[in-house]
Symmetry: none
Subunit: 276 residues, 2 copies
DNA sequence: CGCAGAACTGCACGACTCTGCCGTCTTTAG
DNA sequence: CTAAAGACGGCAGAGTCGTGCAGTTCTGCG
């Protein structure tokens, strides 16, 4: 089948799948949203090849695979930069985690929560609880807490990270006397950025890590929340060793080495399908 | 019938259910309240599909399903129920006040703002400013501040009033050393609940009044914001005497006795029609 | 030069998802 | 109480996904 010029281009692309994938990624980044059939037509290859390419690019984190096509990573964060769309990334998983984490909370207890989409989902899922005292460094958690469930809510003061809408700084709450009072809680709910056997719980921001660490040190029990995309990764700032947690809440079973390490450190693994 | 270009776009969207749901969620978040039929028409799919989408999004906690449609998560929470409703009450007046108050803010200065719908409107109207440092006791002000205008944002910690989403307690910011640092600012923007000649500036909540009073004491200049509905009224807790302010920003000219009292206390009256 | 192995591509088949339609039941409004 | 609108559940068609298989091209090696 000889189309004079077009064939040349297509042939070159066909011989360099890496090059085609690069162009494909660029095209997705440009348009923001593409379908498999459209791409197959545009690049002159079969639908199957496009699907395989998209799967690989998705595995590499370049784009986000959806049913029937893909959307660019940036368009997802741009659509709803404030909150919701990072949620859509692992929306379902986060909701699962949130329900499990909410089950750990006892009525009438005092809990601390750090910022992040996962803990935000937890806040929404506390609607069946009563008489909770909540302390957080997130500006989004208080509005998300159902009014009927809370006794009191406290926000830790400090500098605000405008991107995540969380405060940073040492934990302290001002008292009327002048000197700050020390606080502690029954349960700390900490959403982390990554979990690995060697690195423990890590996150990408140093101030956030410090805040989490303080919450952990003031809690009688600690629950770490992380979805499955965070397994085996290690980020900039360490929050704590694996042993610092009492519960590790996630959506799917972690890799075997992590499961073993958690068990050795006496961390209770909580997943949707697992028995207690 | 065949709309030439539009059909193409719609077809592409139709092929990406995930993308459609993301747009749908964004649309609901924007408008706050939608009906199924409206969405079906707008997105070019059947009512059934929209209903299924809404059910899923509801299950994921992105929105709240209602009979015949859905409402955004935020609109059901106190954020908009209290704030937005009150905002719409004297929306136009508050916007006028906000613009005038924003004009008082100098680029590069440090300002403090208390909570409330009026100061929230001010925060939105700071979009043309640069290098501002803002300290507030409102959880709603930081998200409302345009990102390009702010250098740093601080939130005072403390107990959260769930209705107004403000923190209460003494003003202090935790420092690394342990002891809290004293803070002060160039300008305090204080929205009050009532203004009268005898009572001065008053508000209905004691803790709020204490917070305002502290902000005033730490500011080089003080601007009091109040719409015309607050003239001549007196509420529970006094914030300060009339003389405590440097500027009094409102939407229409106050009654003569108040104008006279302000002049006697050397408070500059700022209204839309008035000359500077 | 010939050959084995790996990677890429297209195709086929079964399973799944999405979508619209229909009938029935529930809720809402008058 | 009645009628309209919406919700719920089942169903079938179309599109998509996942997997296995065969053919082709490229690479490394004898």
């Amino acid at each position: 089948m000889g189309r004079s010029v077009a064939v040349d281009n297509e042939d070159r692309q066909r011989r360099l799948p890496a090059g085609r994938k690069a162009k494909l990624a660029a095209y997705v980044a440009e348009t923001g949203e593409v379908t498999v059939t459209d791409l197959a037509e545009r690049f002159g290859v079969s639908i199957d090849t496009i699907r395989r390419d998209l799967d690989q690019l998705s595995a590499d984190g370049v784009l986000v695979r959806t049913y029937g096509g893909a959307v660019s990573q940036s368009s997802i964060s741009r659509v709803d930069r404030t909150v919701d769309v990072r949620l859509t990334l692992e929306k379902h998983e986060k909701e699962q985690i949130a329900k499990l984490a909410a089950a750990l909370v006892k009525d009438g207890s005092v809990i601390m929560m750090n910022g992040g989409t996962t803990t935000l989902a937890v806040a929404r899922n506390l609607r069946d609880h009563r008489d909770l005292t909540v302390a957080t460094n997130s500006l989004l958690v208080p509005p998300a807490l159902p009014e009927s469930t809370i006794r009191e809510v406290y926000v830790f003061g400090g500098a605000v990270r405008t991107l995540s809408l969380t405060t940073t700084g040492p934990i302290s709450l001002p008292s009327a006397g002048g000197a700050d009072l020390d606080v502690s809680c029954d349960l700390a709910l900490i959403g982390v950025g990554a979990v690995s056997v060697e690195g423990g719980y890590t996150t990408s921001n140093l101030a956030d890590a410090a805040m989490m660490r303080e919450m952990i040190s003031r809690a009688a029990r600690v629950a770490i929340l992380a979805d499955s995309s965070k397994f085996g990764r290690r980020l900039f700032a360490q929050v704590a060793d694996l042993a610092a947690a009492d519960y590790f809440v996630t959506d799917t079973a972690p890799p075997p080495d992590l499961v073993r390490a958690l068990r050795e450190n006496e961390v209770e693994l909580i997943t949707p399908d697992a028995t207690t």
